[in-house]
């Protein structure tokens, strides 16, 4: 008997559902990871505080919704400029001083920033889980044997739109070219009259704006609490290393792979073990292909 015929309609639904879930999840991960990979690619700094900006985005959406009744998608419009300014501020205050310092100094600067931000949130807003339920979280869409939440679909659509816009910006605008030139060779860019400090400022601000927007987008789906960023950011590291640190297209691909591993792993082995799979994948990639799936071999041994 034809195997396809033996798979009943219910099983075909499962496959479609898994595929759609992977895609939706992957889109959100991509927006988180793209800021991280941009900052690494251009500034050569791994931002260990990336998740904390996501957490701040989730709190912004939470407070706007509970105090003012503003829908998270409206908050998004102001969140992007707000986090852009936050990024500028943090760059000037913290990052500018260590941009030419050693890796260890940079690692511990962003680790310190992460610890400080997490605990500022803890002291100001306590450790409680904050959940919002705007109307779009309870709307279920059904199509072609799959069911998904409207909030997931919107988050996916906006995340993909922002990521694609950022990639287009990097590829076709003058500023984008200047940023890529700086990424390729700091010294040569300086000699060509590029103001690298301005490039780094812009890079950091854009990266933080992306992850802040991602925080607002995931707020109807996940609870906000001071360590909320951690679960996403460890995952973003996996995505970014998979795609090759600094590679934006690679980050998109990495997001889909991580989402597929997570969705597939949860379905087959249960949700409790899903994280183990992507960390094992992560360690596997670090051992066998540390420059990422698309990256240039050998980049990791330069330590940059």
């Amino acid at each position: 008997m034809d195997p396809a015929a033996r798979l009943g309609p219910a099983q075909i639904d499962v496959v479609a559902q898994l595929a759609v879930s992977t895609l939706l999840l992957g889109g959100i991960y991509a927006l988180i990871a793209v800021g991280l990979t941009l900052i690494f690619g251009i500034m050569r700094v791994v931002n260990f505080a990336h998740g904390e900006f996501l957490m701040l985005g989730m709190y912004l959406a939470f407070f706007a919704f509970t105090l003012r009744g503003v829908d998270p998608y409206l908050v998004l419009i102001i969140a992007i400029p707000i986090f852009y300014l936050v990024g500028l501020f943090v760059y000037v205050l913290v990052m500018r001083g260590v941009i030419h310092a050693s890796h260890n100094v940079q690692i511990f600067t962003t680790v310190g920033l992460s610890t400080a931000l997490q605990n500022i949130a803890l002291v100001m807003w306590t450790g409680d889980f904050r959940i919002i339920r705007p109307w779009e979280s309870s709307v279920v869409l059904r199509a072609a044997g799959t069911a998904f939440n409207l909030a997931q679909v919107v988050a996916f659509a906006v995340a993909v739109a922002l990521t694609v816009a950022l990639m287009a910006f990097m590829k076709w605008t003058h500023t984008g070219r200047v940023m890529r030139a700086t990424a390729q060779d700091r010294d040569a860019a300086t000699l060509m009259g590029i103001d690298t400090d301005r490039v780094y400022r812009l890079t950091f601000a854009i990266g933080i704006a992306c992850v802040g927007a991602a925080g607002v987008l995931v707020s109807p789906l996940y609870a906000a609490y001071p360590q909320a960023g951690l679960q996403f950011v460890t995952l973003a590291y996996v995505v970014v290393v998979l795609g090759g640190l600094g590679d934006m297209a690679g980050a998109m691909l990495g997001s889909l792979i991580v989402a597929a591993v997570e969705v597939g792993g949860s379905y087959i082995f249960g949700a409790a073990w899903k994280e183990v799979f992507y960390f094992l994948l992560f360690i596997g990639v670090l051992v066998f292909r540390p420059a990422g799936l698309l990256g240039q071999r050998g980049a990791e041994t330069l330590g940059a």
């Binding site: 690692i107 605990n119 803890l122 590291y237 540390p290």
Partner: protein, 325 residues
């Protein structure tokens, strides 16, 4: 008698004060503070062997701490055996894990290495939280209290001397690294790996050795910590916060110096104990204040005084010596 450098005197003074404390006071809170300062200092010294002397900056040392803590706790809670046996098992497992991580460090540098160590600790955290049949999962493992040295059910004074011995041992190992051939070779690997290799140093082997020794020390301290505190829970013993803490003490005190980790621990642990005692009754979330201070101090130290407090003190001594000459 040969002249001791000021930092050696400071260490001797610190350990002497710790050793004399139980003769003067019997206050459990104060003894507890001294024990924790020594224990966190010893753990940071363990981190310093890899992160400071060999330049292999790990953000996943909680992995080894957790292995040690779980090995001791499970050995006494589940199998009713001596936690010392658990400590030995933990050290053996950590040596294997350390060798694996050390192998990774030969392929990965800087942020890549730090990321891989984080991932390693995260995997262990998830396994410990989910493998309910063996580790009791997220609820954690309460360690039974059975009085006696063999079962590590000790009073505060006995704990203080035990941890003091461990701390002095960790300090001595660091001093050895500052004065021995192996130590100079590690410094060579840290400062310029290619040059060290060209001089005939087995850089790969030295790096793995440093991480293995560091892992074994961390694991042993983790076992003792589990017995002292009496409770092991996966979200704490494998946390990134803990890994950062080991590094933080060393960096604040002075990375790659023997005194640094203990000096950092003295400051940070006292600050934490003080703020906990002050704020815990008023508003629990206020205990987060010391972590905000951690974070800010860490940023400021690596930016303005990357050689830490011992570095600042060293410059002060040099300046004073010139002023007198």
């Amino acid at each position: 008698m040969s002249r001791l450098a000021p930092d050696r005197w400071a260490a001797v003074a610190m350990f002497a004060v710790a050793a004399l404390t139980p003769l003067v006071v019997r206050d459990a809170f104060l003894l507890d503070s001294v024990i924790l300062i020594l224990l966190w200092g010893a753990l940071s010294a363990a981190w310093n062997v890899a992160g400071g002397y060999a330049g292999q900056v790990s953000l996943g040392h909680a992995a080894f701490f957790g292995i040690g803590a779980y090995a001791a706790a499970l050995m006494s809670a589940r199998y009713a055996q001596s936690p010392w046996l658990g400590l030995a098992v933990g050290v053996a497992l950590s040596v294997v894990a350390g060798a694996l991580i050390g192998y990774l460090s030969n392929r990965l540098k800087g942020p890549y290495f730090a990321l891989s160590t984080i991932a390693f600790a995260e995997v262990l955290k998830i396994v410990a939280s989910r493998w309910r049949g063996f580790t009791s999962g997220s609820e954690g493992v309460p360690v039974p209290y059975r009085p006696g040295f063999w079962t590590l059910g000790l009073g505060h004074v006995a704990w203080l001397y035990l941890i003091l011995v461990v701390a002095v041992g960790c300090y001595a190992l660091q001093v050895y690294l500052e004065r021995s051939r192996v130590g100079y070779q590690l410094a060579g690997v840290r400062e310029d790996e290619d040059a060290a290799e060209a001089l005939g140093i087995a850089t790969r082997r030295r790096k793995v050795q440093a991480i293995v020794v560091s892992a074994a020390m961390t694991s042993a301290c983790g076992s003792l910590w589990a017995q002292y505190v009496g409770f092991v829970d996966p979200s704490h013993v494998f946390s990134i916060d803990l890994s950062v803490r080991f590094a933080l003490n060393s960096i604040i005190g002075g990375i790659g110096t023997a005194l640094g980790p203990f000096l950092g621990s003295l400051l940070i642990t006292s600050l934490e104990t003080y703020l906990r005692a002050t704020f815990s009754g008023v508003e629990a979330s206020f205990t987060g204040i010391y972590l905000i201070i951690y974070g800010v101090v860490l940023i400021l130290i690596v930016r303005f005084a990357p050689d830490g407090l011992t570095g600042i003190a060293g410059r002060f001594w040099a300046w004073r010596a010139r002023a007198h000459a």
